[in-house]
């Protein structure tokens, strides 16, 4: 999953460095507040641990071995903010000293493995192991956390690689960097992760964290107290990033109107013709009269997020009481 130098264009590299900058700033500030002197050795050792874990070979069925990233393990044990910094440091060392992952792609690699993987791994574990989990549910939560987190990170890497042909082209329209579009990059990255590397990450996470849990329960329970702050931060970032979709030219695949379908396939299926336009939505086309597209898009995202949070809150209340 370490994207080497040369696969991503300058614009993507700059954008992902920019995306990581607030994460690094917030993380280091949080660690500063929590007594830097106390946290520094822990961060350095968590980074060293991640570095070493990435070198470790895990025995898997069939006599073969595989590697894991370890992002979910570190996030569950030291928390997602500290894990983001620790993984960023491990990735920086790998890029600078051993050429594993690129220097120009460091922002992207940190975004995928240090940020996305740490936070998703941590949140999935805390949600799946919430309450008083049985040992089996806890083991399943650990497995799920590693499995899903590495797949989300892989999906992010696949999208970054897959958008290159559309973003960076020569004058005659040929790709300048990674040559495969999303339709190829996403399955090529996701199939091995879903079937092979994901289970390795899940198994590794479950084996390590459950062992830590058995030998030093406080380490996982005390350090991993659930906080909804990271969730809110991620939600706000996603809302801010929403207008990126406006940069894309053309209609998203499968979201064609009847006219576009007619142009693409030569006719409009009868059922589609009948149902087209039956429901226009509250805000058709994410538009609002008299407001610019970008602002309307952000407002739509904000309203949508509020709706989702409200639904989750309402659904969650009876569940919390149980």
């Amino acid at each position: 999953m370490h994207i080497p130098d040369g696969y991503l264009g300058p614009r993507t590299c700059i954008a992902l460095y920019a995306a990581m900058l607030p994460v690094w700033l917030v993380s280091s500030r949080r660690l500063d507040k929590a007594l830097k002197i106390k946290r520094l050795p822990l961060i350095a050792l968590a980074a060293a641990f991640t570095f070493v874990v990435m070198m470790f070979n895990i025995p898997i069925p069939g006599g073969s071995t595989g590697h894991m990233v370890g992002g979910a393990v570190v996030a569950i044990v030291v928390g997602p903010w500290a894990a983001s910094v620790a993984l960023s440091i491990a990735l920086a060392l790998q890029a600078m000293l051993f050429g594993d992952g690129g220097i120009t792609a460091l922002g992207a690699n940190c975004f995928n493995m240090a940020f996305i993987m740490s936070f998703s791994g941590y949140l999935i574990y805390r949600l799946a192991a919430s309450g008083e989990p049985t040992p089996k549910r806890r083991w399943a939560a650990m497995f799920l956390s590693g499995y899903v987190a590495v797949n989300i990170a892989a999906l992010a890497a696949a999208v970054e690689l897959g958008v290159q042909p559309a973003l960076e082209q020569t004058l005659d329209g040929r790709p300048l960097y990674a040559p495969y579009p999303l339709a190829i990059a996403v399955p090529a990255m996701m199939v091995p992760h879903l079937l092979f590397l994901g289970p390795i990450e899940g198994l590794g996470t479950a084996l390590i964290v459950s062992y830590v849990f058995r030998t030093n329960e406080e380490l996982v329970v005390e350090r991993g107290r659930l906080s909804t702050r990271p969730l809110w931060a991620a939600l706000i970032i996603m809302i801010i990033l929403t207008p990126l979709g406006l940069l894309a030219a053309g209609t998203p695949w499968g979201e064609w109107g009847v006219e576009e379908v007619k142009t693409l396939v030569g006719y409009v299926p009868e059922g589609m013709q009948r149902l087209a336009g039956a429901w226009k939505g509250v805000m058709p086309g994410y538009g609002m009269g008299g407001i610019s597209n970008v602002l309307a898009y952000i407002l739509s995202a904000l309203l949508g997020s509020i709706a989702v949070v409200t639904v989750i809150y309402l659904l969650g209340r009876p569940w919390q009481r149980r």
Partner: protein
């Protein structure tokens, strides 16, 4: 520091942990990964002590210049321009007394990976264009295209050139100088200190891994069951994690008792010399050229 000859020599593994004709087990692979890492670290120490062009340039200027060259390669569009930059990398390698095989060892794995990855891009089903050679299968035309070869080669050369520059920086720079160089490039002190400490801890943790893996290997006389191997792996890694946290607490107390405030003090930075400015000027010149080619 010179690498002793016995360190690089191929040896047969002691003991019956790996039988003849059997594939490498995970214990051997782990040992191989640890010794490979140590070898790379020692090798870079050897080159960083040689008298060469890059070694003579001040750490900040060297790091900054190489980063400029890497970014230049990222901006270049023409294969020919990238090949010229490859020649620059080769010249720097020669002038810095770095051996070709040592550089190739670091460049080949990503280059080979990229080479395999770009093969489908050579063909018309990914990159349509003017045919070079082709054949028809069940009425479907598959052809290698000029444009496809261009797209694939461009990526391959770009990746090789960029990796070469990063490898040259690593081979000619002691890690302490590299981190000092980053400090000079305004990377926050917190990260520099953490990088310093992480590098030291990696060596400590790897020694722990090596010891435990060797002890496992020396006590293994036949293939063990998968569950047993996975249990051993979990135990070792969890122990490593536990040890990391214990060390961190001990180090914290040691640092606090010595009045350490969280910032590493390094030897006084030297001022940049004419040679350093010349190097930075040269790399910046290539960068501006890269923007147009």
């Amino acid at each position: 520091m010179k690498i002793p000859a016995w360190f690089g020599a191929e040896t047969t593994p002691p003991g019956p942990a790996r039988g003849g004709g059997q594939t490498e087990g995970f214990v051997e692979k782990n040992l191989g990964a640890v010794t490979g890492f140590m070898k790379e670290v020692l090798e870079s120490h050897e080159y960083s002590h040689r008298k060469g062009m890059l070694q003579a340039i001040e750490a900040r200027a060297r790091t900054g210049g190489i980063i400029i060259l890497v970014v230049s390669a990222a901006f270049m569009e023409k294969i020919l321009s990238l090949l010229v930059l490859a020649l620059v990398a080769a010249a720097i390698m020669r002038l810095s007394q770095v051996d070709g095989p040592s550089l190739l060892k670091r460049v080949l794995p990503p280059a080979l990976f990229t080479g395999i990855l770009v093969i489908p891009a050579f063909f018309s089903f990914i990159t349509p264009g003017s045919e070079i050679v082709g054949f028809t299968v069940a009425g479907y035309r598959i052809a290698m295209t000029v444009e496809g070869v261009e797209v694939g080669l461009r990526l391959l050369v770009r990746v090789s050139v960029m990796v070469s520059f990063v490898a040259l920086l690593f081979l000619t720079t002691k890690e302490a100088d590299l981190f000092r160089g980053l400090k000079g490039l305004s990377v926050p002190g917190f990260f520099i200190t953490a990088l310093f400490m992480t590098f030291r801890y990696i060596l400590i943790l790897l020694k722990t891994v090596e010891d435990s893996t060797l002890s496992r290997k020396s006590r293994t006389i036949s293939r063990t069951a998968l569950k047993g191997s996975q249990g051993w792996f979990a135990g070792r890694v969890a122990f490593l994690l536990q040890r990391s946290i214990n060390i961190s607490e001990e180090v914290t107390m040691a640092m606090a008792s010595r009045g350490f405030k969280g910032k590493i003090k390094t030897l006084e930075e030297k001022n940049l010399s004419g040679r350093d400015y010349l190097w930075l000027g040269f790399t910046s010149f290539l960068f501006f050229i890269a923007l147009g080619v």
